[in-house]
Subunit: 318 residues, 2 copies
Amino acid sequence: MNKLKDLKKDFLNEFEKIQELEGPSYLYDPIKYFVKSSGKRLRPIIVLFLGDLFNNNKKDSINGALGVELLHNFTLVHDDIMDEDDLRHNVATIHKKWDNAHAVLSGDGLGALGPLFIGKIQKNTLSILIRYNEVILEICEGQAYDMEFENKSFVSVSEYLLMSSKKTGSLFELCFEISSLISDKYQEHVKDLKKLGRNLGIIFQIQDDILELVSDDDRMGKSTYSDVERHKKTILTCLAMEKNLSDWNKLINSINNQKTLDKKKSIYNFLVKNNLKEESDKLLNKYIDECNEIIMNLPKEIQSGLNELISYIIKRSK
Amino acid sequence: MNKLKDLKKDFLNEFEKIQELEGPSYLYDPIKYFVKSSGKRLRPIIVLFLGDLFNNNKKDSINGALGVELLHNFTLVHDDIMDEDDLRHNVATIHKKWDNAHAVLSGDGLGALGPLFIGKIQKNTLSILIRYNEVILEICEGQAYDMEFENKSFVSVSEYLLMSSKKTGSLFELCFEISSLISDKYQEHVKDLKKLGRNLGIIFQIQDDILELVSDDDRMGKSTYSDVERHKKTILTCLAMEKNLSDWNKLINSINNQKTLDKKKSIYNFLVKNNLKEESDKLLNKYIDECNEIIMNLPKEIQSGLNELISYIIKRSK
């Protein structure tokens, strides 16, 4: 795991250069504030890890990594406005520290900076840039579904998975696609590598949901159970609705006036009683098995590296 | 002028295809609503007009036109959030008709759609796409200055011109740059054509400001004098501050409690007394002269076309 820590350090050294940008402070102060805050930097780590594994040009990998992380940061800043979240990684969100106007504009600025780094990639630049733009639209669509779900009394697991695939899977896929397109050897495997990336994004999202609802401490830096409070749909609530909609609705209505701790207990008990933790794990394992199958069909020399990367992402949150 | 009307019709026919996009209505309903509303469509008209003048590939021109108009629409949706404007082209803005979340996301969606059309251009695609991205950041910087100015008690004319150049000039420049880069014959004149475009953008912005403050009807579809009310800086207020800051401040303080009509009269009288309408016209003419000079040095066969285009933009608002 030391290697992955080193890659994160490498990335953060490069990301630090955002602090040197000059221009109107109305735009750049919130941008610099946001990129300085802590974050897993999972997406750029993937690009750098695969860059090493594929023997890619280092500079291309770094520009790819900066591009995907800036895109991710752009969506976080705007998602925080939409969700009216006050905290991100335990510090005030931009719209909370400044206001909505600063958050809208600095999100746009982060979104504008991303493709400038992608444009510096020396290999397959145009294809990568076009895919990068397609992914931005796909992420918007995923976020739109996520917002729509808040007002729906029933969301199926397959609707949820489509949302996750677009909102999270698309950018993970892009990390794998960029790494593949800047490589000499693995361009012919781009389709499998993309599929691997997208699956990994869905796995990541499902895990995030499971943690959000079942852990009772605050290790995600977000408030546990807030998803249920805000009618956000997660894999567990979708499974609950598919399994037993009327009981789930009864539960939600009955706990409305309970204290937070009691709510947590009620929801937790419902999930346990209905074996929903097991079912979400089963779904997770289905995606993990698919990943393993893809890896087995990829060239031998990259298999153990890919396994290492996937273990890192899966174990990260366990 | 019939030709320009025809080009607008051509563009609107193409733009209509946005209505056919499929996906989550949370994202696409506001997008379709916004692009359906009326608008001058000046930027795409420029690309199509120059496309004709330069004998460019029609499909490339149309994709360029769609790209610049979608980018413009993206910035309008987000600017309306930042300015808390309720109306645009006399219909409710997205954040007013829906809410901020819809407006943030659909603005992002418009911004994501733009480069997808730019990516379809067949000639110099990568250079154009990279310049397109650079311009997005420049527009963000221009908007940032514009927002910063609201809290400044003094903004110089040169600061104002830098803001205008970034916020408006950059995209006009891009229209000329795209048209030049997709042409066979005029790529070598890209530098002059870009300069012409940027100047034209600044002219357009100055004119917009003059109309905003001096016309007493509502032909712009925005509320006259609202700029002063909201501490927005315009060319006239910057000229006023440079000419006579203390008298301007006195005026602004003294009219605070006046009725709108009286405010209008007071401001109008101040501007007339200080010859500020003449001074802004003088500045405007300086930029127009520069445009004429650039045109004289461009190939003969496109001079009258360029003059026609510039007259259209200048006369549009007179």
